[in-house]
Point group: C2
Chain length 332, copies 2
Amino acid sequence: MTTTPPYSGFVIDSAQYAKWDRSVFQEMRDGGVTCVNVTLVYWETARETLSEIGKWNRLFEQNSDLIMQARTAHDVRRAKALNKTAITFAFQHCSPIEEDIDLIEIMHTLGVRFMQLSYNNQSLCATGCYEDEDPGITRFGRQVIREMNRVGMVVDMSHSGERSTFHSIELSERPITITHANPKSWQPALRNKSDDLLKALADSGGMLGFSMYPFHLKDKSNCTLESFCDMIAHTADRMGIDRIGIGSDLVQGHGNEVVEWMRNGRWSKAMDFGEGTASDAGWPDPVPWFTGNRDFGNLASGLATRGFTTEDVDKVMGLNWLRFFEENFGPA
Amino acid sequence: MTTTPPYSGFVIDSAQYAKWDRSVFQEMRDGGVTCVNVTLVYWETARETLSEIGKWNRLFEQNSDLIMQARTAHDVRRAKALNKTAITFAFQHCSPIEEDIDLIEIMHTLGVRFMQLSYNNQSLCATGCYEDEDPGITRFGRQVIREMNRVGMVVDMSHSGERSTFHSIELSERPITITHANPKSWQPALRNKSDDLLKALADSGGMLGFSMYPFHLKDKSNCTLESFCDMIAHTADRMGIDRIGIGSDLVQGHGNEVVEWMRNGRWSKAMDFGEGTASDAGWPDPVPWFTGNRDFGNLASGLATRGFTTEDVDKVMGLNWLRFFEENFGPA
């Protein structure tokens, strides 16, 4: 397998969460990664979110030769021209806006471009994919979607329940996303999505980012590149080649205290194991063909081997997300 | 007296604090006001400050025919071309950055362009003008000045003690400001500034904004326009015509609970009367020649009558602040 990308276009990843430091940014450069949509927070409050943005501002200042913040698709193109990796900000949950509609525009001004309306649990906006019942988008959630549409912050339903997700597609005047998940028909994880939902997502102009987090993969950490690329080909047949991209859900450098925070936040005193179990509570082992930012070339090669044209490889690897950013970051 | 400005240039006011609503913005338009630097907060925390910015975002959205947010001098010029009043954000105190250096860049990104290092009392950064002792800029304050210099947020020492103000002039690598005060030699208020301090301010490239808040005026609410313009002429002789502007300290529409908040925040259970007294605790009556945003023309006329050339009237009324914004908003 090659670590030099054979494709000519943009590499955009709609979901990563690392213990960010210069070595990770160097890996992004080594892997030719144009843009990473990074998870800023899971369960944090507005004030705590400011501190996370503050940490990123220091990272931008200290690593300005490798990375830069992107607020627009134009910034992503500029990053590519400057040989830097563009960073966009994402929330995995709506906790940072608390119960305050005004915080959406404020967080957008600070660079946040994606927000999940719920993370596994019922939120103030929508239901999470681990709840027993899904009553759909809440009263506050409807206002939140409207305001996100207005300012150009993208609705992400990766960790939401199916009914809430269908509901958000219906309510949102701009396309929504599932930045990191796979089809349930390939791997029946709670976090993966039904074919009907993915079809509705595609029909409304939305995007799916394919996850390489082992719990979302057939045979988990033993999933082959061939199986993954075959799944992408089948999904392209269902959703269309323009509605799919990469959302690796790559996690790097974090100890188990971080997966515990992701799963438990401050909402539970009893330990919740999320997609894991008590006997398998930590981070899953990555698949051997995607262990970090240097490995996007393997994926592009795998797609080419599976029969994707160069043009289609480019779309999946980044051009689809770039077009989506162009149309959905900022006021319509 | 005329309400139509006789001058040809920009009208920029470096300090106002109203109960903001459409009628105030309409008055700004009627008065030909190009830009107002508005007080966002006095004693608020970071989180509370976000809510104040949120309120402004609603005002910008609902009154987009009258006002717009300005982050640069270019925005101020654009507002003038569009017949709107540009609004810049200011903190009267450093409470919004709490004890967190990272909040300076974050607040700058949200549009804050001026921050006072202290408000009457000792702060984490500097001493206020009502304290008995003034030990100068603190350890945190030095870091704050450096960071404000880096991002292009302007240091304002209007309510600070004299030694702290001299110290900030010495420490800051970019010019500082006193956005709303007058010479103590004209009116010996605690909030007014010594001739030596104003000279040092001017020599370092800093700016003074002349206040029309009655406590800062000779004869307070009975101060004449002639006396005020005479004071400006003498100050121009001392500081130079390029270092002075208007910082009216105009307050409109607020009840006495707001002057109590300004003076007491949450720091005192006993009532502090600030520049007032127990028997004169409320807002002072405005001078008859400056009751609101429609009256800037009176001031320009008064300066012309006092012998200022048209060019110098334009400088005092706005062009000096515009040049200062050009040089000091954003990285050097």
